[in-house]
């Protein structure tokens, strides 16, 4: 009971902290700015239409996806540190590179195989405060309360110290000298620690350590968080300090973040991008269509958002936000790892009318409408997954899941404990509801910071909920069924169409868009159930529609489309008790060419791919088996892991 109330307190406190510090809009100087990195590579990569004799000559398109995590916290994050994370950015990079480390809970841990890249994205607000306090930094000990909390931590009463700190944030009595923000030299030092760790771990060609941070706008506990990534190197990143949300140096309004980004590009010479996450915990604020922060949406809002936020993190430990069963009642796979009880701390319960402005699919649809109105689609985003883990461990495999926070690292208790419980609303989230998800796959031409950043900017990326499946998706006007039997689908894809994240327009008379889509299972993972294409469009009356098509599936010789047009379930080999499954159903690889059967050249539309694996044990099944404990009634014990690609958009010619 004590730990439960502690956690609630901590979360409530973190939220109130934001309020107490007085989040206020503070206009940073906007400067004319041109990122100049967008879209160019898409064009460059297209093969000449007349191929050279050698099929390999002149090829410079990406040959394999690079898997990584764009959202990982370490002990330098205020909340991670207070929860007991002792690992720092260097440990996080070492672990991602495949080295074995000792987790903060004392257990040894290693990934099944290295990641290709990582962004350590610690919260900017109070970055480095807890690590400094624990190290007994003189400036903090000079403050009586700092001294007190330090002594409590040293005496093994870290939990009590955490509660006191949180309370004092809530009461507005947190000592000003201890706040880590742009005016405090120690904040700059913490940022430099992040940069130095990335510089050391970065090894072009083998592993990219991308510099970044999280800007945690959380007013009213409505999650509007964004991760900010730098394309450039440490020398450039150290010319600025990360934007915070508290006054007088920062703001909780995304529009101010975009201004900061423009100024940062100018000052540092490094392009930057922002990735929002957890719209599912924003209580209807992530993807507005009428107003944001009391201001009506306008042309400028749409253009600015479209410029800085070209990808969205739609699956992570705090749930998957592709689609919601309420919004997509005909999509039997929409109900996947859903978190729809309230905002971040559960202080305001969710209502159905909020959902439309929280989920990726409805945002993609509303974007079409906004584009008709303002000329720019603010929600023209690609899709990635990432962990948001707060223990420096990007360990998102179901059978090797090291949890979201240090207290949630493997233990016999995590199957039955409470993660969030709000005393007023009663909103409760159990530890078992935390997802072992996900990673971001990037079709970069090489493994460098710059190439990965550029692939993100052209949205040639996709999300996975943990497994490393390979997914190709191309759209064009001339794909034919035999392209699916070609031995070099990528070469055909790039020469006849655009990759995921791209655009189609100028429909030739009488033609419908065609798509080449292919998926290959994770080399050490489960077979594939099916590939689906999700289409969204706006009709002549301005109404929005969506449709999910099964386009190719495993065991096709005995599995036929039903009368309702849908492919029946793939089956299930999971033995929950033993936490095992077998690849006796499904296919290792699926590929096809699909043509939109209901195309209208006058209507805006988008198409994205969803790949489903066959059912496998969820992390909860491995926990139950390895610790020999009984899960709570209603605990999800298996799942169908999946990948979601960035859409390809069709826009009618003017």
């Amino acid at each position: 009971m004590k730990t439960k109330s502690l956690k609630t307190l901590v979360i409530v406190g973190l939220i109130t902290m934001g309020l107490a510090l007085g989040l206020r809009r503070n206009g940073l100087p906007a400067r004319a700015q041109d990122a100049g990195t967008q879209d160019k590579a898409t064009l460059e990569k297209v093969l000449p239409t007349k191929p050279a004799y050698s099929p390999y000559a002149g090829r410079n398109f990406p040959t394999r996806p690079l898997f990584g995590d764009s959202h990982l916290h370490t002990g330098l994050s205020f909340d991670a540190g207070i929860f007991g994370c002792r690992l720092g950015p260097s440990d996080a990079y070492r672990f991602a590179r495949g080295e074995e480390v000792t987790a903060s809970s004392g257990q040894r841990v290693k990934l099944s195989r290295p990641l290709d890249w990582l962004v350590v994205a610690d919260h900017s607000d109070n970055m480095g405060l807890i690590t400094d306090l624990m190290a007994g930094k003189q400036e903090l000990l000079a403050v009586p309360k700092g001294r007190r909390w330090y002594d409590m931590m040293q005496a093994g009463k870290g939990g009590d110290a955490a509660i006191e700190m949180i309370m004092s944030f809530g009461e507005g009595t947190f000592p000003k000298e201890m706040v880590y923000g742009p005016a405090n030299p120690a904040y700059k030092t913490a940022w430099q620690t992040e940069i130095d760790a990335a510089e050391k771990a970065n090894e072009p060609g083998r592993f990219s350590a991308i510099i970044g941070f999280e800007w945690t706008s959380n007013t009213g506990a409505n999650n509007l968080h964004r991760n900010v990534l730098f394309r450039g190197n440490g020398a450039q990143a150290s010319l600025v300090v990360p934007m915070v949300t508290f006054k007088p140096w920062g703001s909780d309004n995304p529009e101010d973040l975009w201004k900061w980004m423009a100024a940062t590009e100018e000052k540092s010479g490094s392009p930057v991008l922002a990735i929002a996450h957890n719209g599912n915990l924003s209580n209807g604020l992530m993807f507005p269509i009428v107003e944001a922060f009391g201001k009506k949406l306008d042309k400028e809002y749409c253009e600015t958002r479209a410029k800085w936020e070209r990808i969205y993190e739609m699956t992570q430990t705090k749930g998957t936000g592709e689609a919601h069963p309420y919004l997509s009642p005909n999509d039997e796979f929409a109900n996947f790892e859903i978190w729809d009880k309230g905002n971040l701390d559960g202080s305001t319960a969710k209502t159905k009318d909020m959902l439309e402005f929280e989920y990726a699919r409805s945002a993609l649809k509303n974007g079409l409408k906004l584009e008709e109105k303002f000329g720019t689609n603010p929600y023209k985003f690609g899709m990635i997954g990432s962990s948001d883990a707060h223990n420096a461990l990007a360990a998102m495999e179901e059978d090797n899941f090291f949890g979201k926070t240090t207290p949630q690292e493997p233990s016999p208790e995590r199957l039955t404990k409470t993660f969030v419980k709000h005393p007023k609303t009663g909103v409760t989230i159990m530890d078992w509801e935390v997802s072992a998800s996900g990673y971001a796959a990037v079709w970069a031409t090489e493994n460098t910071r710059e190439a990965i950043f550029d692939a993100m900017q052209r949205r040639e990326v996709y999300a996975t909920t943990g497994p490393r499946m390979t997914v190709r998706f191309f759209g064009g006007w001339d794909f034919e069924p035999r392209d699916a039997t070609n031995r070099m689908p990528a070469a055909i894809g790039y020469s006849k169409g655009v990759p995921m994240g791209g655009d189609l327009s100028e429909a030739p008379a009488g033609k419908s868009p065609t798509f080449l889509v292919a998926a290959l299972k994770d080399p050490i993972g489960a077979n594939l159930d099916r590939i689906q294409i999700v289409k969204g469009w706006i009709d002549a009356r301005g109404e929005l529609h969506e449709q999910v098509y099964d386009v190719v599936w495993g065991d096709a010789e005995k599995r036929k489309r039903g009368a309702n047009g849908k492919v029946p379930p793939v089956g299930d080999t999971v033995d929950v008790e033993d936490a095992t499954w077998s690849n006796t159903i499904g296919d290792p690889e699926l590929i096809t060419v699909w043509k939109d059967p209901n195309f209208d050249a006058k209507q805006r539309a988008f198409y994205y791919v969803r790949v489903l694996e066959i059912p496998t044990p969820r992390w909860t099944a491995y926990d139950a088996k390895r610790f020999g404990i009984k899960p709570l009634p209603g605990t999800a014990m298996k799942l169908q892991e999946r990948a979601y690609t960035s859409p390809i958009w069709y826009t009618p010619a003017k």
Binding site: P55, Y56, T63, R64, G98, R113, P114, D116, Q138, E139, A142, D151, Q154, A155, G156, E177, T470, R472, T485, N486, R487, M488, P489, A518, A519, L520, K521, D522, P523, I524, G525, D587, P588, E589, I591
Partner: protein, 285 residues
Amino acid sequence: MKRILREPLVHFLLLGAVLFIAYGLVSKPGSSDRPGKIIVTQGQIDQLASGFAKTWQRPPTTEELAGLVQDLVREEVYCREAMAMGLDKDDSVIRRRLRQKLEFISDDVAAIREPTDADLNAYLQSHPDRFRVEQRFTFSQVYLDPAKHGENLARDVAELLVQLNRAGEQADVLTLGDSFLMEHTFTATPTSEIAKQFGEKFAAKLGELSPGTWQGPVESGYGAHLVFVSERTEGRVPALAEVRDDVRREWADAARLELNEKFYQELLKHYTVTIESPHLAEVQR
């Protein structure tokens, strides 16, 4: 001289000297009936002033500095009295801090020593796997999907192998076998990269194949592959010059751990430790 500086014994002596001096600097604890002397030196005053400036971004005023000095005197008095009363005993905060300080000293002493090339070479030779340059392969692969061949897989593999070996390196990998999303040809690719794409087993198996002929089947998570290795660059232990920074970092880490442990063991010799639980005492050993 250099040689002497590298002797572990010298380190202990040095450490001892540091401790002795540090101990001597601390004045004898005072007690209520025999007042001691407190001298605030100019050095201490300068330190107070610079500490203040660091926190407040300006030098202290005379009053403020006087206040700081008075506070220092107060701290000194309280400390001596508290220690005389034995208040430092059984206080986990103080005990941890003391332990930490001694560990810092020991760490610092360890850092004094600069390794020679001979040290680094010896370390490199005794830990070759940590610094090894990876094995690389240039190879082609043709894939067979077990689901498509069913019971005939073994037969089809054998037939395809004959066909491939007739063509040798010129075999058209783009038309043979089943379609497969991954690349068919890889150039000078390190083992770790192959493992990422095909799995550990496949990568390990490549090392066993002799270059110049089609061989297999090699199993991966996807199915069966026939493989033609055209070139294998062996992994090797690099020369010190190539990895000097890495070796130096690992050597320094190992040297620090070793010295700290020796230091502790040396200190431990002065004590007889009794653990009043035979079971735990046994586990300790």
